[in-house]
Amino acid sequence: MGNPPARTVRFTVNGVPATVEVEPRLTLADCLRHALELTGTHVGCEHGVCGACTVIVDGRAVRSCLMLAVQAEGCAVQTVEGLVDGEALGPLQAAFRRHHALQCGFCTPGMLMTSHALLSSEPDADVARVREALSGNLCRCTGYIGIVEAVLDARAAYKAGAGKGRPDR
């Protein structure tokens, strides 16, 4: 066995350039969490089912547990830390709070990133589309009703172009 040599990877996270030395086997999720100390991205299953680790890479919502950090070379990555509007909550975050769309908060970053990617490209998404888009993110606390209501509520802000931190392309 023995560790394969580390590789240098460069990408941007929430608009800020990052350079990391990583083992090729390190996932993007672990890289964000432990190498870059962006612990808002959570790991719930490590096999792409729960969606807690969802981040936005070049405009698309991806499972950062199923992507290696070395694959992010040259990409623009957005995490939950990039959703705030200055110090204030972004429109999705505020809607989540208003609709009690979270309890333990563990799935929440992934829910927010999936919803952000959805509303950034489909601000008119109807309830069925919202439920479909969220069906890849598991929550064990809320029963999802508040989450769906929050995403529907946040649509107006995205339609008005106020969705914070539109994904870099």
Binding site: G44, H47, L83, R97, L102, S135, L138, C139, R140, I145
Partner: protein, 772 residues
């Protein structure tokens, strides 16, 4: 004390949300310390076998590996994890060692702990540990456990730990009821094995301070003080040398925070190596290692008059508790026996429940422990009995539900523990009638059993009671800070349910303050209060909230006393004004907050609430669903919950709890199942095979919460409400499916009701009808 409720009862947005929504939560894996090492477990790949050798040489030789511990490294006697709730000598024979020695008894049982520089090296090394285990025959069900030709513990002489008895009315009354009743009905039911599956797996960070000989353990949740006490015993350390630090917690549901082998092993390694050690469980490990729940079968029998009056209920059940008796393994079987009668008038009741061991992951307490199972069986039997007697299902329940003038109602005594109790307050008919109205029973009942657009409609209703507010006590401390704000410290633990917000609401109202004058709510960690009893059994609001009220009283008294000394009067003459910013008496006003104020150095007051009686919230659930007879697929069209919780602190968090609990229980009823093969291998070891509900599965849940009957047992009048959403779901759904498929003679007797099982029930139904 006069209380002016401004915040209590309001849908106050949660304080917790600000950090969770911005990625600033502090879950255990979010913490790192310099020089930290990483641990991983080597787990048994066999369900039952004799350990011949564990070879750790290759793992130890890997660069970056600091230690590989097996049972042989733990000293002459391997520490055993004792029972916590209702300890019993008959069951203590089945306690779990922190590392397997001599034998392994389930797939996933810890064999060794590897500690290395990184998680990846630790996992590489774990793969190099070679365990030589000689297979033994496996025990995987009730029949095998009771037959006893293979024993998990030879020295115990049996796979049967104990039989609990719950009795109301004497034995002769019960015999008479069943001998004389014109109608009896006996059925066999089963609930399968499932589990909480919180989104955050478990984890621990243990730090050892050699100079001070102190251990700090982060990631403890639910009952950190109890875990600390046990850890101190097992490590041979004084309790006061261990700090138990509660982290944010990604879902509890009763299963997290019991004392697990890892809770000993990770701190042990930190102390032995003199370094911080972190362990984070992966999802496959989680499904193998966290306590499972629910697996019980029971023959249940009811005796009734022709008019449906229940004379007696009796049953023999058997819980499969897996390979070892875990710290609170008795909770579910005890509740199962005691709550079998639910909110109904059942004059004679006798339940006997055997606790069995088998070669599966140990089982423990999961949201609504025992109550989910027992409610399911009773409500199924009621619908069957009502059908056979030709009595309407609603009329049957209305006839037998306890009336308000029969409260309080005594619960059966559970032996050998001798625990009993009685309900506190309530009107069970109120929630029942409201639930019927909300679901539109009178209109929808006409659809029951009918096929419309190719699917069969079914409807059902069921009732439950939920025990909450378990004692013995809870502590709180309020600190009046120099800036006029108040910090709340409390012994209850947060498991994601929004405890910080409701405690801030309670404290602010009790002190006459706006919400933003509560500077912090700190909970659950040792060092915050003298003692804490954690978060379990729907107790936090009842116990922690009441302790905060007491502390608020004491804080006001302390401030009055100090102000009186300055003002030269008796404390009773002092009035606290302007939101605790000033005190007035005899025409003089004294500033309390600010640099010149009384509270420059802070004023503290402790609070305590003690209780040996439980609160009982209660309610009814109803469901309207369809079943596709060709595929067995169930679609939920409407689901209504009506409950009375005595008093609502925050309707938003309360509805969130109820709806979340219902969906979790719908998962447990229709989707989730921990499946083992014939060798005891868990076949559902990932979230791809262990199916929990997703956002498009159950979008139609409606929750109505009443506060018509406050509990007389605490000053807030609250009752617990964390589990009620779970309890009646299995029975209501099974009955609704029976209602839909009545023309096929389908009578579900076992959960989960997955499409293949329903399809199979249709095909072996005793009243075949041509399929569409």
């Amino acid at each position: 004390m006069t209380r002016h409720d401004i915040l209590v009862g309001q849908p106050v947005e949660r304080l917790e949300d600000l950090r969770f929504l911005t990625g600033r939560g502090q879950y255990v894996d979010d913490r790192s310390v310099d020089g930290m090492l990483h641990a991983t477990l080597v787990r048994s790949a066999l369900a039952h076998g004799t350990i011949r050798a564990i070879d750790t040489a290759a793992a130890l030789a890997l660069p970056g590996v600091h230690a590989v511990y097996t049972a042989a490294d733990l000293g002459a006697k391997v520490p055993m994890i004792p029972m916590r709730m209702e300890a019993n000598a008959d069951l203590a024979r089945f306690e779990q060692p922190v590392l397997a020695h001599g034998k392994v008894r389930y797939v996933g049982e810890p064999l060794a702990l590897v500690v290395a520089d990184t998680p990846a090296i630790a996992e590489d090394a774990a793969g190099l540990v070679a365990a030589h285990i000689e297979p033994l025959p496996v025990v995987l069900d009730r029949t095998g456990a009771e037959r006893g030709d293979t024993l998990l513990f030879e020295q115990a002489g049996s796979n049967r730990g104990l039989a609990l008895q719950a009795l109301r009315g004497d034995a002769s009354a019960l015999d008479a009821a069943f001998r004389d009743a014109p109608y009896t009905c006996r059925r066999r039911f089963k609930v399968h094995r499932h589990t909480a599956a919180p989104m955050e797996t478990r984890g621990l960070l243990a730090e050892w301070d050699a100079a001070r000989q102190r251990l700090t353990v982060s990631g403890l949740v639910k009952v950190p003080f109890a875990i600390r006490a046990l850890l101190a015993t097992l490590l041979g350390m004084p309790e006061s040398a261990i700090d138990a630090v509660e982290s944010d917690c990604g879902g509890g549901f009763g299963m997290r925070g019991e004392f697990y082998p890892e809770d000993f092993l990770v701190p042990f390694a930190a102390r032995r190596l003199g370094r911080a050690v972190k362990w984070i469980e992966d999802r496959n490990e989680h499904l193998l290692a966290i306590t499972h729940a629910r697996e019980v079968e029971c023959e249940l029998e009811i005796a009734c008059d022709r008019d449906g009056t229940i004379r007696g209920l009796r049953g023999q059940g058997a819980y499969d508790l897996g390979a070892y008796i875990r710290p609170n393994a008795v909770t579910a079987p005890r509740n199962f026996a005691q709550m079998a009668g639910g909110p109904y008038r059942i004059p004679a009741l006798h339940m006997e429940v055997a606790l069995l061991v088998s070669n599966k992951t140990p089982a423990g307490s999961y949201r609504g422990p025992g109550r989910f199972e027992t409610d399911c069986f009773r409500e199924r039997l009621f619908d069957i009995a009502a059908g056979e007697l030709g009595i309407d299902r609603v009329a049957f329940r209305r006839h037998n539900l306890l009336r308000q003038d029969e409260m309080p109602s005594r619960l059966p005594i559970v032996m050998p523990y001798g625990s009993g109790g009685e309900t506190d307050s309530g009107n069970y008919h109120e929630t029942f009638e409201r639930c019927l109205a909300e679901i539109g029973w009178n209109d929808k009942v006409a659809l029951a059993g009918r096929q419309i657009d190719g699917v069969f409609h079914g409807i059902a209703i069921g009732c439950y009671i939920e025990g909450g507010g378990s004692g013995p006590r809870e502590h709180a401390r309020l600190v009046y800070e120099g800036d006029g704000r108040v910090a709340v410290h409390v012994g209850s633990s947060a498991v994601g349910q929004g405890l910080e917000t409701i405690f801030a609401q309670i404290a602010a109202d009790a002190l006459g303050l706006p919400m933003d004058r509560i500077s912090a709510v700190r909970h659950g960690s040792s060092g915050i209060v003298k003692m804490g009893y954690g978060s379990l059994g729907s107790r936090s609001t009842v116990m922690g909230g009441s302790a905060i009220l007491d502390a608020a009283n004491n804080l006001q008294h302390a401030i009055r006393t100090l102000a009186a000394a300055r003002l030269g009067c008796a404390p009773e003459e002092v009035s606290l004004e302007d939101g605790l910013r000033s005190a007035a008496a005899r025409g003089r006003v004294l500033a309390l907050a600010g640099p010149s104020g009384l509270a420059g150095g802070g004023i503290e007051a402790d609070g305590l609430f003690e209780n040996d009686r439980r609160t009982y919230s209660y309610g009814s659930h109803a469901a309207h669903l369809t079943v596709d007879a060709a595929t067995g697929q169930v679609r939920l069209l409407d689901y209504v919950s009506v409950e009375d919780v005595g008093r609502i602190i925050n309707p938003m968090t309360l509805h969130g709890q109820v709806i979340g609990a219902i969906v979790q229980a719908l998962g447990g009823t229709l989707l989730e199942h921990l499946v083992y093969d014939g060798q005891g291998q868990l076949l559902t070891g990932s979230l791809a095979s262990y199916l929990v509900p997703a956002a498009d599965d159950f979008p139609v849940i409606r929750s109505f919460v009443l506060e018509n009957h406050p509990s007389p047992l605490n000053p807030l009048g609250v009752k617990g409400a964390g589990e009620g959403g779970v309890i009646p779901v299995g029975g209501v759904i099974a009955n609704a499916i029976a209602s839909a498929l009545s023309s096929f003679g389908v009578q579900p007797d076992e959960l989960p009701l997955t499409p293949p099982r329903i399809w199979e029930l249709i095909r072996r139904g005793n009243a075949p009808v041509a399929l569409p």
